[in-house]
Amino acid sequence: MNFLGFERPDGSAGMRNHVLVIPGGLLATKICEFVEGVKTILTADSGSGRTSHDRETVARTLIGLGRNPNVASVIVHTGAVGAGYPELNPTRIADEIAQSRKRVELIDVAKEGGTFRALEIGVQVAREMVLQSSQLRRQPSPLGQIAIGVKCGASDTTSGIAGNPVVGYLFDRIVEAGGTAFFGENTEIIGAEHVLAKRGANAEVSRRILEVAAETEERAKSTGEDIRTVNPVPENIAGGISTLEEKSLGAIHKSGSAPIRHVLKYAERPPGKGLYFVDNWMSLGSIFAGYAASGAQLVIFQLGGGGWTGKDLLHTSTAVVAPLMWTTANRKTLTMAPSCIDFYSGGVIENGDSIEETGEKLLQTVLGIASGTLTKVETIKHIDPTQIYLKDSPF
């Protein structure tokens, strides 16, 4: 089973063929405005005033996005807030991306004589990169080249009984074929961590899963608030979910049934192929960019939506270089936002369709998107800002 992908020098295969300019900011944004086919990250998380741990998270995100298979070549510039910290040194970032053997150019703003001179050079380099990458042709690439990330959101009870299990089937198929799959959301394993821990590939992974749940619960308790006023969010409760435990037990179905190979940090690159749990935050403004930095060429938002009203235009993308696709198993949600939902799995509830047959259809949809079919929200140019998942306080 194949898709048509762009072969990269490190042996990976891209579903898209972007040029990336990082870090974000004026220079990167202006290059994107001038040159077709160029992406950048839109975020206020520069790393400035952050702990070394958090700065490393910012660096890992930028490097990971640069290494993503959907990126043909990368421009790194020095004109960013935070560039003075060793973790965020532009040469370090460029060098680590270049380990994937793709083309990386460093633009030194001071050496070029300022922002406007650097912009002129950046535009010309980006145009040249785009022309060069446009000469690549898609080639058959095996299913095992896919890396995919999922978040479930606005969960309702259709998520746990149909939407998430169908995505879980897709995950199993991708992992069986030698591919890579990411799931996460550290708050949303609380109450289900004992079930998940049994799927650890070894005792250390199981221990880490329990530890992540315990740390997250401890942080939640330290606020002095009932977590039910934070999560489940009001939309979950309006959709029929009563407790965090119930939400978590439904949420973990999106991971399928494969052994969990490792617990990754936000934006961390996996040590190999397989299924990974990522210690990340559920926010859609954060999670997808992290998956893309871990190497996902495609991200899925599995939407319940039972508690939503009138949201006909769904969130477009914060995965920066990876397309976002939406799935739902709720008929009402599908009717609410037909121009944004790429796949409907509600037949499992309405017609008694099996998870397997519905999951096979989802796999075909994913292979189409992997081969170049746009996701529905990919047709919209608006980009929402990314919140890089930083755990420490700012100083």
Binding site: D156, T157, T158, G160, I161, T187, I190, G191, A192, V195, E217, A220, K221, S222, T223, G224, E225, D226, I227, R228, N231, I237, G239, G240, S242, T243, L244, E245, E246, L249, G250, G306, N330, I349, E350
Partner: protein, 102 residues
């Protein structure tokens, strides 16, 4: 049209998830795989919400997916709606561990 009733997700469950609106008084089909039970709805159970398929005494676990999802905060009769008014989560409860100052 008759209600499609509700789905039980695991043997041990004492609640089922409505896959259709269930009107009060309806003898609703409640499915666990191929097995079908009939539970009379004591009140309106909207699509996606939970119906008790056994009596659940106050303080005992409400079970879904074969796992506890919290405890009954009052006695729940078979056929009742089970939601935040009679089911309390036990996890992440900072309001209970911080001396109840909030």
């Amino acid at each position: 049209m008759a209600s499609r009733g509700a789905l039980i997700l695991a043997d041990a469950d004492n609640v089922a998830t409505a896959i259709d609106d269930i009107e009060p008084g309806t003898e609703a089909p409640v499915r666990l795989g191929k097995e079908v039970r009939i539970v009379k709805a004591l009140e309106m159970i909207p699509f996606g919400f939970k119906i008790a398929i056994a009596d659940i005494p106050k303080g005992t676990h409400v079970i879904k997916y074969g796992e506890p999802i919290g405890k009954a905060s009052s006695d729940i009769k078979m056929g009742s709606l089970v939601h935040v008014h009679n089911l309390e989560g036990a996890r992440g409860r900072g309001d209970l561990t911080k001396g109840g100052e909030r």
